[in-house]
């Protein structure tokens, strides 16, 4: 594992500032450690051998108090800088992640839940990485160097002992690590399977109870927990070996140094001040290295979170054109989209302006994919889509989408008022990328459709009735993805969006699926109003939708598949 991922420096500039500050603080801290040891050695010698009283000791005590205050100040500064830097780095990464997700678009696939968790909580793992691990890493490099530099002129033998044993620690740890890593990895995988079993049976508790198997599972849990303990202990016996080596080397070296200087003191080859200096500084040389190991988890978790972020940031952004939005005949020219080694869509079709085309076929035949291609969410693996003879690949997607009103199968409703949700169609389209310092100027821009427009769109969509029935009408706040609204109500809000957008092209994706007959009839009426005078492409299942179309394209695979 790399201690510091260089990409962290690239993607989060805050890291560089932090590293510089940490190194500066580390140098000051190392100097203070040496100063403290020197003062203590002098003070003890003065009292013990020279018979100094408190008065003659006062300057030393004052100097020592200053050093102590200095160490406290450095400790405070280290934590403060770490928290500030971590906040800045997380903020920078979040900003980049969000911008990148939008740039890549919905085709990225992958687990949206995992992305959300990473952005909201996952990056917090960097806190401990910045506050604990990185500073310790810097100290592990700086402190031994400064300590050895101080000891070198005082006592060559002790300096050499420390200088020779210190590198043994990382070497031995690496050796032990190499030997055990593969075995550990295997066992940890097994262990995580065992822990997962407990979560699995708790989640399926009701099912177990239905089948009268809950009692038997308790015994299984006991057995598996015992097995898990046995395996964990086997792993730990080896895993703790590396810290055993570390502690042994560090403590034994200090003991050897202490005995050595004691013997040379007896023989008169060394004075007490130097001996005390060595005794105080020797453990300090090993301490940061020992603590790096203790913060291994902080490091691993922080780097894992960063790794996840980098994986997203390194997803390539699809190429996009810059041409202005075309208009005219829409042609699917032998368009193929492949998904998991099979054709998710294979379509050749032409839609004239003002025409209504229905895409039909069983679920999974690519109806939604065809609409995604047209929206630019999915890039065809073969073939192309042209509009008025212009290849869509060369067109600026945002400009092209501004000519489309899309009603998805399951429209997403945003946290906010019903008005804001309908007015989504009225967002200024070509906002320049706002500089962060001026970000606040742009927050008011999202929904600014005038009230009558929204109400008119809602009326046309057949949504005005139920909105009027809500306690706050158009200001009613929608929670968590429109919780509390029925499928039909969501659909009508999405239709209102489309009416408000008033675009020449309308894409409808199974707008009446999951609706009961009565609601479906209302929604159908709204769809007829919306389709009037526009080019419409409908992914359709129900006969009444298909009946609306001037042209029907059956996407069913030939010959008809098993499903």
């Amino acid at each position: 594992m790399k201690p510091l991922d260089p990409r962290l420096l690239r993607y989060a500039r805050g890291t560089r500032v932090y590293l510089a500050a940490t190194v500066a603080l580390g140098v000051v801290l190392a100097a203070l450690i040496v100063a403290q040891a020197t003062l203590l050695a002098h003070g003890i010698t003065a009292v013990f051998l020279d018979g100094a009283d408190v008065r003659t000791l006062t300057p030393t005590l004052i100097a020592l108090a200053t050093v102590v205050a200095g160490r406290a100040a450095v400790a405070w500064a280290q934590e403060t800088v770490a928290v500030r830097s971590s906040a800045a780095v997380k903020s920078e990464l979040r900003g980049r992640l969000l911008a990148h997700l939008v740039a890549v678009g919905p085709a990225r696939g992958g687990d949206t839940g995992a992305v959300t968790t990473l952005i909201t909580r996952g990056l917090d793992a960097l806190d401990a990485y910045f506050a604990r691990y990185l500073p310790q890493l810097v100290l592990a490099a700086l402190v031994p160097a400064v300590v050895l530099a101080r000891l070198l002129p005082a006592d060559l033998t002790a300096t050499m002992t420390i200088a020779l044993t210190l590198p043994l620690i990382p070497i031995f740890m690496a050796l032990v690590g190499l030997h055990t890593e593969a075995a550990n990895h295997r066992q940890f995988r097994l262990l995580s399977r065992l822990s997962h079993h407990f979560l699995d049976v708790v989640a399926g508790l009701t099912t177990l109870k239905v089948f009268g198997r809950a009692g038997a599972q308790a015994a299984t849990i006991r057995r598996i927990s015992a097995e898990q303990r046995r395996l964990t202990m086997r792993t730990l016996r080896v895993a703790f070996l590396s810290s055993l080596v570390l502690e042994l080397l560090a403590t034994l070296s200090v003991a050897l140094v202490a005995v050595g200087i004691g013997l040379r003191l007896v023989s008169g080859h060394l004075d007490l001040t130097t001996a005390l200096l060595v005794l105080i500084l020797a453990p300090e040389a090993y301490l940061p290295l020992r603590q790096v190991g203790a913060h291994y988890h902080a490091s691993a978790e922080g780097l894992a979170a960063a790794e996840e972020a980098f994986a997203i940031l390194e997803t390539p952004v699809p190429a996009r054109g810059a041409a202005p939005a075309p208009a005219g005949t829409i042609v699917f020219d032998d368009v193929v989209v492949r998904y998991r080694d099979r054709d998710a869509l294979h379509l050749s079709a032409t839609v004239e302006p003002g025409e209504i085309m229905a895409l039909t076929g069983p679920s999974g035949c690519g109806k939604s994919t065809a609409l995604d291609v047209l929206l630019g969410f999915v890039t065809p693996d073969h073939g192309r889509v042209t509009v008025g003879g212009v290849d869509l690949a060369s067109v600026d997607p945002a400009a092209w989408r501004s000519t489309i009103a899309w009603v998805p199968q399951r429209p997403y409703l945003f946290a906010g008022s019903i008005r804001d949700n309908i007015a989504l169609g009225r967002t200024p389209m070509h906002l320049p990328e706002p500089p962060t310092a001026f970000a606040h100027c742009f927050t008011g821009t999202v929904p600014d459709a005038p009230r009558p427009d929204v109400a008119a769109a809602a009326r046309l969509a057949g949504a005005a009735g139920f909105i009027a029935g809500l306690p706050d009408g158009y200001d009613a706040a929608l929670g968590d993805d429109g919780a509390g609204l029925s499928a039909g109500q969501r659909q009508r809000i999405a239709l209102a969006r489309a009416f408000l957008r008033d675009a020449p092209i309308v894409l409808l994706d199974e707008p009446t699926a999951n609706l009961d007959t009565e609601t479906a009839a209302d929604v159908m009426a709204a769809i007829r109003r919306l389709a009037h005078g526009r080019t419409v492409i409908i992914a359709a299942h129900r006969p009444e939708l298909i009946a609306l179309a001037d042209r029907i394209v059956d996407l069913a695979p030939q010959p008809v598949g098993a499903r």
Binding site: V83, L205, L276
Partner: protein
């Protein structure tokens, strides 16, 4: 039950191992302190040029401490983890047994799967509590006490300073730290929630945002939330450093007091000069041991919260209890009946009022009604996950409360909307219903559920893994596998809860037909909000249009 009692009862069988761990840990930390103390004396003594022989004991002690520390620390960690894992195993089994008694009605507060999962994760907190909190604190307390006595014997002032410093680091700093953390969290929590809501909206609503050109406005709004959060985090940074500064000051204060008090004592003859270094330098090693305490205290708060949640669950009242003297049920065919039933998941929030329902042998009844009308509650009553608050539920005229629930659930099967598939093979999922079923019996059940053809196309056949929550299967396949499992069990009465939810029309109709064909002459209650069920069943009961009775 308090979390402390829960911990005590769970940990008592592993007490021996825990004591061993504390002793080994104390030995390891004691060796570190001893190394410094004896070395300090050795060097001071050596400065007076005595015969080397007089130093031999100290030299051997220093070397022994040097060796002992690492070895004892290794022993401490192994003994501690072994004991903690034993406790974990016991606690897991105990929590699971209790959850099994409570599920699902007693866990009304935990009905969301995530919460059940969190509960399962809470059990792991006992590991942290033992190895990362109690063990370091016990070791630091013992070693701290010993060191205070050692230093205090030679210089009471230095001993007092050491005691004070240790209390600062071990008790005051953690309190300050948790205060600071709470303050910071309080500031950050609403901002985090704002950022999280915005992020969820952006990630999940991205297609809608892009299609309507609303993406840059959203990003700008999120940037604003993010900047607010960053500023709040940076504002609390000054507080975060205070604890570290106090720890540094406490160590330094002990050094100063030790040197000053030692100088006075040596000058007055109360202290031998060669012990001065011992008094001044020993605290350096002691504070190294104590330095882990603030981190240990941080784990404490989280682990305690987890254990408290567990203690709450363990002391929750059971929603249904098995009868003292269960009544025997005659052999089938069986009739299930709801008679003027009221029911509530949480006291006072009645979801069913005065409901009558009869399911005669071989009958096919559909229970319809909008969501929230209590359809699933009826199912819970029929398998006795819940008892009615008024009226009664009977099997062949016998009140369910007088029947052994295990026996009842052998007769009445329930296929919930979210029938759970375990993260294992198709065969193992089926054998939940009948552990001794042969492969042929499994295939027969799969055939009845119209899934055998598909299983036949799989390279691993019955041994195919279904993935977490069955995610390797399509929605329809999951339902069919769950149905096959229910069929394998041989229930005489089957309750199917929203069997076609989240399926498209075509798949839904096919599944419904297969379901009803597969159940054969068993009695079936289909719970659904679909209106096209009427043609497929003998009777439709609409929860909304039940004859309204006049409330008292």
């Amino acid at each position: 039950m308090s979390w402390l009692r829960l911990l005590r009862t769970a940990a008592s069988p592993a007490a021996g191992g825990l004591v061993l761990a504390v002793l080994a840990g104390t030995g390891a930390a004691g060796a570190a302190v001893g190394l410094m103390a004896v070395s300090a004396w050795l060097i001071s003594r050596a400065a007076l040029h005595p015969p080397v022989l007089h130093l031999m004991v100290a030299i051997v002690a220093v070397r022994a401490f040097g060796l002992g520390r690492g070895v004892l620390r290794y022993a401490e960690r192994l003994a501690g983890h072994d004991a903690a894992l034993r406790v974990l195993g016991r606690l897991r089994a105990r929590v699971f047994t209790r959850l099994a008694e409570l599920a699902p009605a007693g866990l009304a507060g935990y009905r969301h799967a995530d919460l059940a999962q969190r509960l399962a994760a809470d059990v792991d907190a006992v590991l942290d509590m033992l190895t990362r909190v109690l063990l370091p604190y016990a070791v630091a307390a013992l070693v701290g006490l010993g060191s205070v006595l050692l230093v205090g014997t030679y210089s009471p002032a230095a001993g007092l300073a050491l005691a004070g410093g240790l209390l600062l680091v071990g008790a005051v700093v953690p309190v300050l730290q948790s205060r600071a953390a709470r303050l910071a969290d309080g500031r950050r929590a609403p901002l985090r929630a704002e950022l999280a809501a915005g992020t969820v909206d952006l990630v999940h609503g991205l297609p809608d945002l892009l299609a309507y050109g609303a993406d840059s406005g959203r990003i700008a709004r999120l940037a604003e939330s993010d900047a607010k959060l960053r500023r709040a985090e940076q504002r609390s940074s000054a507080l975060a450093g205070v604890s570290a500064a106090i720890t540094a000051l406490a160590t330094g204060m002990c050094l100063l007091v030790g040197l000053a008090a030692g100088a006075v004592a040596v000058r007055s003859g109360a202290l031998s000069g060669e012990l001065l270094a011992v008094i001044v330098l020993t605290p350096l090693a002691v504070f190294e041991t104590a330095a882990v305490l603030p981190a240990a205290a941080q784990h404490f708060a989280a682990a305690r919260a987890s254990l408290r949640r567990l203690a709450d669950v363990l002391s929750a009242p059971a929603p249904v209890s098995a009868p003292q003297a269960p009544v025997n049920v005659p052999d089938g065919p069986h009739t299930l009946r709801l008679e003027a039933v009221d029911a509530a998941w949480t006291p006072g929030r009645t979801v069913l009022h005065d409901v009558d329902l009869e399911l005669r042998p071989g009958a096919r009844v559909a229970l319809v009604g909008p969501s929230g009308s209590g359809k699933s509650t009826v199912a819970a009553l029929l398998v006795r996950f819940l008892d009615p608050t008024a009226g009664r539920v009977t099997l062949d005229g016998i009140d369910l409360r007088r029947i052994d629930p295990e026996l009842l659930r052998q007769i009445v099967g329930y296929l919930p909307e979210d029938a759970y598939l375990f993260d294992t093979t198709i065969a193992a999922n089926l054998r939940i219903a009948r552990p001794d079923a042969t492969d042929d019996e499994l295939r027969a059940a799969l055939a009845e559920a119209r899934l055998l053809d598909w299983v036949g196309t799989l390279p691993d056949g019955l041994e195919t893994l279904v993935g977490e929550h069955g995610r390797e299967l399509s929605g329809g396949q999951r339902r069919r596998l769950a149905l096959a499992r229910a069929l394998l069990r041989g229930f005489q009465v089957l309750i199917l809860d929203e069997p076609t939810e989240h399926l498209d029309d075509e798949n839904a109709a096919a599944l419904l037909d297969d379901l009803l064909a597969a159940v054969g002459d068993r009695s079936v209650l289909v719970i659904t909000h679909r209106t096209d069920i009427a043609a497929r069943v003998d009777e439709v009961v609409d929860l909304n249009r039940l004859p309204a009775t006049v409330p008292v």
